[in-house]
């Protein structure tokens, strides 16, 4: 899109939305949010970026092929589920650790990595669809 205002403001909006999507992803366990919603926000951010600068720019910005991102997410989610097998508890059982960093207790869990996997799958798959539809001239 050629609008100067849009192209000027888009990088700001996109970066804020990306940051927000990660915020939503991480707070999901206790407040409204989570991997699925976070992923959709990230896709929206990338779509806006794509509308302003074209699909090729988006591809360069996310470095990896979108479907590779989705695949990595699926792998991460599967491994998070399989991790419980190592500790002899049923598949997909949530495992929690509470490391203390700078006097602050930070709860980490396999549930969180699973949610990150969901986020990556949604980002990768939907971005891939949007980008392939956008770049109709090249294929």
């Amino acid at each position: 899109m050629k609008s100067l205002i849009f192209r000027t403001i888009t990088p700001v909006i996109t970066s804020v939305m990306m940051l927000f999507s990660i915020f939503v992803l991480l707070r999901g366990h206790n407040e409204p949010g989570g991997g699925f919603i976070g992923g959709l926000i990230a896709v929206a951010a990338l779509s806006i970026y794509g509308i302003a600068f074209g699909g090729e720019t988006v591809r360069r910005a996310i470095v990896f092929h979108p479907l590779s991102i989705a695949g990595a997410g699926l792998l991460l989610a599967t491994l998070s589920g399989l991790l419980s097998m190592v500790f002899h508890v049923p598949f997909m059982t949530g495992l929690w650790v509470y490391p203390v960093v700078f006097g602050e207790e930070i709860p980490l869990s396999s549930v969180m990595t699973f949610d990150i996997g969901v986020y990556l799958v949604v980002v990768g798959a939907v971005t891939s669809i949007a980008l392939s539809l956008e770049e109709r001239g090249e294929d």
Partner: protein
Amino acid sequence: MNVTDLTFLALCLPFLGALFAPLLTRMLGHNAAWVLALIPAAIFVHFAGFTAEIAQGTPITGGYTWVPSFNVRFSWLIDGLSLSFILLISGIGALIVLYAGGYLKGHAHQGRFFSFLLMFMGSMLGLVASDSFLMLFVFWELTSITSFLLIGFDHHREAARRAAFQALVVTGGGGLFLLAGLIVLWNISGVTQFSALMSLGPMVKASPLYLAALVLVLGGAFTKSAQFPFHFWLPNAMEAPTPVSAYLHSATMVKAGVYLLMRLNPVLGDTPEWQLILPVFGAATLVIGALLAVRQTDLKLMLAYTTMSSLGLLVMLTGFGVPYAIEAAVLYLVAHSLFKGALFMVAGIIDHETGTRDVTRLGGLRTAMPLTFAIALAAAISMGGLPPFFGFLAKEEVYAALSSSDPRSIVFAVLVITGNALMFAIAFAVALKPFSGKLVATPKHPHEAPVLLWLGPAVLALAGLVAAVLSAAGHALISTPMASAIAGEPRVITISLVPHIGVPLALSGITGVIGIALYLGLARVRAGVASVLAWIGWGPDRGFDQAIRGLVRFSFAVTRRLQNGRLDSYMTMTFTAIAAVLLVPPFVFGELALAPVFPSIPLHELAIMVIAVIGLFAVVLAKDRLTAIVSLGIQGFSVAVIFLLYGAPDLAFTQFMIETLAVVILALVMTRLRLSPSDHRPFRETLPDAAIAIACGLGAGLLLLKVTQVPFDTALSDFFAQYSKTIAHGANIVNVIIVDFRGTDTLGEIAVVMIAGLAILSLVRLRAGSMRRIADNDPDAEEAGR
């Protein structure tokens, strides 16, 4: 290692061997056969070690847990019946491997052949060793699949491909009957193991489902054991290389059906149905097979049809239900395995050394191939049921079972004598005719076969003699335990080579006389049978082709109608179906929702709803497609706001994002489809679409109304609310459900998202021009083009 582990290893060994066979053949050439034959030999030795213990009457069982949640075990039952089969399969298997080494010497894919052969052997061993129903079924279908590979080994010939396909469809389809039958048996008895089922025979026979179980099991057994009218795949399977024919016909594959009947005899047997169906089909197969065999001039086909006869005889005896019948079946099964394996290998040797299998173009080979002649003669004497070979004992026992004076026995005795006399004639037509008389010129100059080729048949022919001479020991160790296992009660076999003057010997004499007469007049009998068959014209083999062709035509017609390539007709069909599903059941079953009671709605909520409705009207009235898409977004956002107002922030959040992305993606799709910016159809053409849309909306609305009027079960939401924080350490119940309580669901869902992404990407990249059109698959066009 204990016995259980060793037995498991023995059952796995052929599959391991199949893995290494190609590599070994690349290193050693055809001599790899000597190494690979050690596998069945080792299995033979391992199981032969159980003989004495099993002869005492204690079956050997063992196994491992397979699917504990369904109470399925990988377990085996080695009793007299399965032991005899295992020894035949592994013993003859070793000889067949050696024979294949000589027969396919220098073949480009000999390694692959060994691999298929060993896999088939492993499947067959697993089948007869199985104790659990499911294991039997898995191995049963594995034998169908591996025999498909073996029969279609020369896959560049269409006849081989057709024969392989036919065998797979018939025997694999029969396997599905068997699965259903086993499930019915499980349903009746509540057990999943044969060892437990054996004592429940009276319970199964008393059940109202007995006939269903019987018919289903017979559907599996009759297709596998090539009983009329499912026999046609068996002669067609002669397209396979001769080692396969020899193996399939002697100890394996076709005997699987007989094995199943023998295994289930204590459970299903001894009823009027069993004693009617089995003998009738068996005797019909016996006589028809023998008649069809006479008509052939190809050595392999003659033998193939006599196999069909022999299977008929075995099925008949298994179900005959008189003294000596089971014993006769046991002896005949062993004798048949030995002589039929040898004869097939002899036929292969003749083909290999002379270049033809046509009995009318062979003669006088006795000087060129004396050893082969001796082997063939020994096997034929056994097949003809003459002393001093094992076939004689088997036939005496058969006639002992049939020699009573009731009408049923007399009718079946006449049929059996007919079949046996025909088989007698064919045995010598195969084993005597090519060797006697004047030497006939053949495509290749005949000479004696190499050791790899004659070793197998020689051992089998000799075994037929040894088994007869040492019959007392053989009965004690093999035949008696096997007969006892089939009968489900102790049986003793005593017959020996010492002739007993009586009715059986007289019947044998009659058979021999008729057989010799038929042999001398074979050319005339052949012409007679051929003219009768030409008069009938149609057979199940042609019927199979017609059925398959009809199926292809039908599927083509359905596909052309349903998948016509027009997106709008797909949409119309899909949404009409949805509307029908939503609207028809409530009216038919009187499940319509009651009229809702409208609560008083606050003004701000009312405003949101009005905006949603305005959005809808905007969609319908929009001048161009882009405006319509954006207007659809308005409606979606309003719904999201309603979710938010009613306390579902996660849902609202998701709805906002989905609506945004849906608008973006729809807009992209629209530009990609290169549609005109607006819909130019006149109003009356859009009317049906509008009707379908309204019907869908109405249906969904009524369904939702009805759902909300059903009392809400709060058990799940209470559970989640109570435990979300305490077990899963999360305050957001929705998220905890997604990633923890029902995380496995989510894993499946994201896999679907991923696959959808892949699918859409490939759809977008498809070029219309490069796709094959459906018309290219028209079966009629294909035939016309040939």
